[in-house]
C-alpha cells in the first residue's frame, strides 16, 4: 500500500463514504417525518368482529400421524471471524445457502451390539443433498468419530435402496478395519480438497495379512496419491481378521468435505 496511486484510492474512498453518510442521514430524517405524519393523521381502525359460535367437526384418523419433519436450519454465508483462520476448502460449485443436516447419533456404548444401518437412511440423505445441491458432509475429527459414524458408511456394495442389512460380524470387521487404517494412513495437506478417490482390491489371509500388492482398480488420477493408498494398506498389515479370506474391495477418499 505504499504507492501514491493506492493512497489516492484511500482518499477517494473516504470522501465517497462521507458523501454517502450525509445522504443517508438526510434520507433518514425525511422518512422519519413521513412516518410520524402518517401516524398522527391516520383514521382509527374498526375493531374486528368475532362470530358468535365456532363449530368444530372431529374426524378419526387411520393411524398415528407421522412426526413432522424438522425444518433444517439454514446457515448464513460465512463471515470473517477473528478466530484462527479455518482450513480453506475448495468448493467450486456455488453454494449460497447451506442446510445443516441432522446430527449423527452420539457415541454408542461398546457393550451394545452395533446395529447395522439399512441403506434407506443414507440414500434419503444423499437425495436430499442432491436436491439442495449440497456436497457430502464433512468428516469429523478422530475424537468425534463414533462407532455409529464409522458404521454409517459400512453398507454392502449392493444395489442402493435395497435395504439390505450388514451381518453383525461383517459390520464389526468393517468398523475395526476402518479404524485401524485411519490410524495408519498418512494424508498430507497436498492431497486434500481435490476429490481424490482410489479404489483397490486387496487379498487378505484369514488372519488379516495383506497378501501380495494391492491392485488399483480405480485410479485417482494422481499417481502419488494412488501409491500412498497402497503404502497405507501394506503398512497396516495385518488388518483385523476378515470374515473370510480372499479379495476385498477398498476405497480411499481424501475428500474431507467442505
Amino acid at each position: 500500500m505504499s504507492s501514491s496511486t493506492q493512497a489516492s484510492w484511500l482518499d477517494e474512498q473516504e470522501a465517497l463514504q462521507r458523501r454517502n453518510w450525509r445522504r443517508g442521514v438526510l434520507l433518514s430524517v425525511v422518512l422519519h417525518g413521513c412516518v410520524a405524519a402518517g401516524l398522527l393523521y391516520a383514521p382509527e381502525p374498526e375493531p374486528m368482529r368475532l362470530p358468535e359460535v365456532i363449530s368444530v367437526k372431529m374426524v378419526s384418523l387411520p393411524g398415528a400421524p407421522p412426526a413432522p419433519p424438522k425444518a433444517a436450519p439454514r446457515k448464513a454465508v460465512p463471515k470473517p471471524t477473528p478466530a484462527p483462520a479455518p482450513t480453506p476448502a475448495r468448493t467450486p460449485a456455488p453454494a449460497p445457502k447451506k442446510v445443516l443436516l441432522p446430527k449423527r447419533p452420539q457415541k454408542v456404548s461398546k457393550k451394545r451390539k452395533p446395529k447395522p444401518k439399512p441403506l434407506e437412511y443414507d440414500d434419503a440423505l444423499a437425495a436430499l443433498r442432491d436436491e439442495l445441491g449440497e456436497p457430502d458432509p464433512p468428516v469429523a475429527s478422530e475424537e468425534e468419530v463414533s462407532d455409529a459414524d464409522l458404521l454409517a458408511t459400512a453398507e454392502p456394495a449392493v444395489s442402493p435402496g435395497a435395504g439390505v442389512e450388514v451381518d453383525p460380524a461383517l459390520a464389526k470387521w468393517l468398523l475395526d478395519t476402518r479404524r485401524h487404517l485411519r490410524q495408519v494412513w498418512v494424508v498430507p495437506p497436498d492431497f486434500l480438497e481435490q476429490g481424490l478417490v482410489t479404489g483397490l482390491i486387496v487379498t487378505l489371509s484369514a488372519s488379516g495379512d495383506v497378501l501380495g500388492q494391492p491392485e488399483i482398480t480405480r485410479t485417482s488420477g494422481n499417481p502419488y496419491f494412488d501409491e500412498n493408498t497402497v503404502r497405507a494398506l501394506v503398512r497396516a498389515s495385518p488388518l483385523p481378521p476378515p470374515p473370510e479370506s480372499g479379495d476385498w474391495p477398498f476405497q480411499f477418499s481424501a475428500d474431507e468435505g467442505p
Binding site: 496511486t5 483462520a85 479455518p86 456394495a157 490410524q183 498418512v186 477398498f250
Partner: protein
C-alpha cells in the same frame, strides 16, 4: 448305476454341486461391501535420514552430521515428512555405499516407525559439493527416487535443503520449498532497499544499494534476478532488474511508454512477457510487454485505476485490481485483456491479488475497520475464506512456489515484519524482527 459311475457324469455333477453351493458358503465378490477409508489425523510421514557416507575432500568430521541436521530442519520446515530421532533407528545409522540392489532391512525401518528411509553419499568436485541420495518407501521396500545434486561448495546449506525438498517430491510429487528465497523491501538502513533472505529468515543480504526508494520486488522466473520499481531523478518511477550476474542488471525497457510512470512489473510464468502497471494523466492501466521484441499490448483501457497484476500459473489469465465499480475489487481477465470478470464481492476495499502456483486460490488483502486481513478466493469468485485475521494489518500475500505456504507483511508487533503461514492457516512464523519496516515479500521460484 453304470451311468452314475461314468466319469463325465461324475464331473458334471461335481461342477453343478459346486456352482449351486458356492453362494451359500462364501460372499460373492459383488456382495462384499467396499471398505471406505477417509483421512484420520496423520498428516505427516516419518522419515529416517541416515548419516551420509562422506567421501568429499578435504576431510571434515562434522560434515555428514551437519548435512543431516540441515536436511532435518528443512523437512521440519515443509512439514510433510518429519525426521525421526536417530536413537529410535533399528537399522544402521550410517549409509552403506549406494547400489541398485534391493534392501533386506525394510522391516527394521518400518518397525522403527519410518515411512521413508534416506541414504546418501557426499562427494566433492572442483569447487563443488555433490550429493547422491536415495529415498525408500519402507512399507513396500521400494526405492522411490535416486538423484545426484551438485552445488557450489560454499552453499552446503542450500544443497542440504534441496535434498530435503526432493525427499518431499518423492512422496507427494511436489518438491518442498526449503531451498527457495524471499525478496522484500526494508528501510532498516534508512533507505528503502530490496533484500533477499532464506525462507527461515536467515542469511539476509542486500539486492540493491542506492539512495532511491524501491518497491514491488518480483522474481524473474528462473530466480536469477529480481524486477523492482524505483524512483528516478526526474521523479517518475521506472522498472529495474537486479541480477545474480546471469542476466544484465539495470533499467528494463528504457524507451517503453515515454511519459508514463511505470509502477510495477511482474514476469509471466514462462518469462516471455511482463505485465506492467503504467500511469499517466491520473489514470493507471495494465499493459504486457514481450520480453524480447518489446511489443506492447494495453490490456485495460478505462478511466478507472487498474493495478496489481498477478499471473495465473498457466500464464493464460491475470488477476488485477480495478475500482471501475466504485471501489477497488479483484478481477480476472485473459492475457489479451478480454473476458474480464469480477471475483470479489465481500468488502469495499480488496487489493494485492496473488494467484496460487496450483491455480486453485487467489490470496488478496481486504480492508476491515481500517486495517487489512488476508483472504482467499477461488478464481471463479464463488468461495471466499479468511486466512489471516488480526487487529493489526496483514498485507501483500505471496505464495511459496509449492503452494503450501504464504508470506505476508504484518504490523501485529508494531513495526512491519515478514511472516509465513501454511495455506490451511496453521504454523504462523515470524521471519524478520527488530530491523525497521519489512514489506512486500516476494517468494522466489524453485531454484533451477
Amino acid at each position: 448305476m453304470k451311468l452314475r459311475r461314468h466319469p463325465w457324469v461324475q464331473a458334471i455333477a461335481l461342477v453343478l454341486l459346486c456352482t449351486a453351493s458356492a453362494p451359500g458358503i462364501a460372499l460373492a465378490q459383488s456382495e462384499k461391501p467396499v471398505v471406505e477409508i477417509s483421512p484420520g489425523r496423520a498428516k505427516a510421514f516419518r522419515v529416517a535420514v541416515q548419516r551420509f557416507r562422506d567421501r568429499a575432500q578435504p576431510l571434515r568430521p562434522s560434515r555428514a552430521d551437519d548435512l543431516r541436521a540441515v536436511i532435518g530442519d528443512a523437512l521440519d520446515f515443509t512439514g510433510i515428512l518429519l525426521p525421526l530421532d536417530p536413537a529410535a533407528y533399528l537399522g544402521p545409522d550410517d549409509s552403506a555405499p549406494l547400489s541398485n540392489r534391493g534392501r533386506s532391512d525394510c522391516p527394521d525401518w518400518s518397525q522403527s516407525g519410518a515411512d521413508a528411509l534416506v541414504e546418501g553419499e557426499i562427494r566433492s568436485g572442483t569447487g563443488t559439493l555433490e550429493i547422491e541420495f536415495a529415498v525408500w518407501d519402507t512399507a513396500r521396500c521400494v526405492r522411490l527416487a535416486r538423484k545426484t545434486i551438485t552445488w557450489d561448495a560454499s552453499e552446503a546449506i542450500r544443497l542440504g535443503r534441496t535434498v530435503a525438498d526432493e525427499i518431499v517430491a518423492a512422496f507427494t510429487g511436489t518438491p518442498g520449498c526449503a531451498a527457495t528465497e524471499i525478496a522484500f523491501v526494508s528501510n532498516r538502513t534508512g533507505h528503502r532497499e530490496i533484500y533477499v533472505m532464506d525462507v527461515d529468515g536467515r542469511y539476509t543480504r542486500t539486492a540493491t544499494r542506492s539512495d532511491a526508494v524501491k518497491s514491488f520486488p518480483a522474481w524473474l522466473p528462473d530466480a536469477v534476478g529480481i524486477l523492482y520499481t524505483s524512483y528516478t531523478r526526474s521523479g517518475l518511477t521506472n522498472l529495474y532488474v537486479t541480477s545474480r550476474s546471469q542476466v544484465r542488471a539495470g533499467r528494463l525497457f528504457p524507451s517503453l511508454l515515454p511519459g508514463y510512470a511505470k509502477f510495477r512489473g511482474v514476469f509471466a510464468p514462462d518469462g516471455e512477457a511482463v505485465a506492467i502497471v503504467a500511469s499517466t494523466h491520473g489514470r493507471s492501466d495494465i499493459f504486457t510487454v514481450h520480453r524480447n521484441t518489446g511489443k506492447v499490448r494495453q490490456l485495460t483501457d478505462t478511466p478507472a485505476i487498474e493495478v496489481g497484476p498477478s499471473w495465473s500459473p498457466d500464464g493464460k489469465r491475470l488477476a488485477f485490481v480495478s475500482d471501475r465499480a466504485g471501489s477497488p475489487q479483484i478481477y480476472t481477465m485473459n492475457r489479451d485483456g478480454s473476458d474480464v470478470k469480477r471475483i470479489t464481492f465481500n468488502g469495499h476495499y480488496n487489493t494485492s491479488p496473488a494467484w496460487s502456483p496450483k491455480g486453485d486460490w487467489i490470496a488478496y488483502e481486504t480492508r476491515v475497520e481500517g486495517q487489512f486481513d488476508i483472504w482467499l478466493v477461488d478464481p471463479t469468485g464463488t468461495t471466499a475464506l479468511p486466512l489471516v485475521t488480526n487487529r493489526r494489518s496483514d498485507e501483500a500475500p505471496s505464495w511459496s512456489p509449492d503452494g503450501r505456504k504464504i508470506a505476508f507483511s504484518s504490523t501485529r508487533r508494531g513495526t512491519a515484519d515478514i511472516y509465513l503461514i501454511d495455506r490451511n492457516g496453521e504454523n504462523l512464523q515470524r521471519l524478520t524482527r527488530n530491523q525497521g519496516d519489512n514489506l512486500a515479500p516476494a517468494w522466489g521460484p524453485f531454484p533451477r
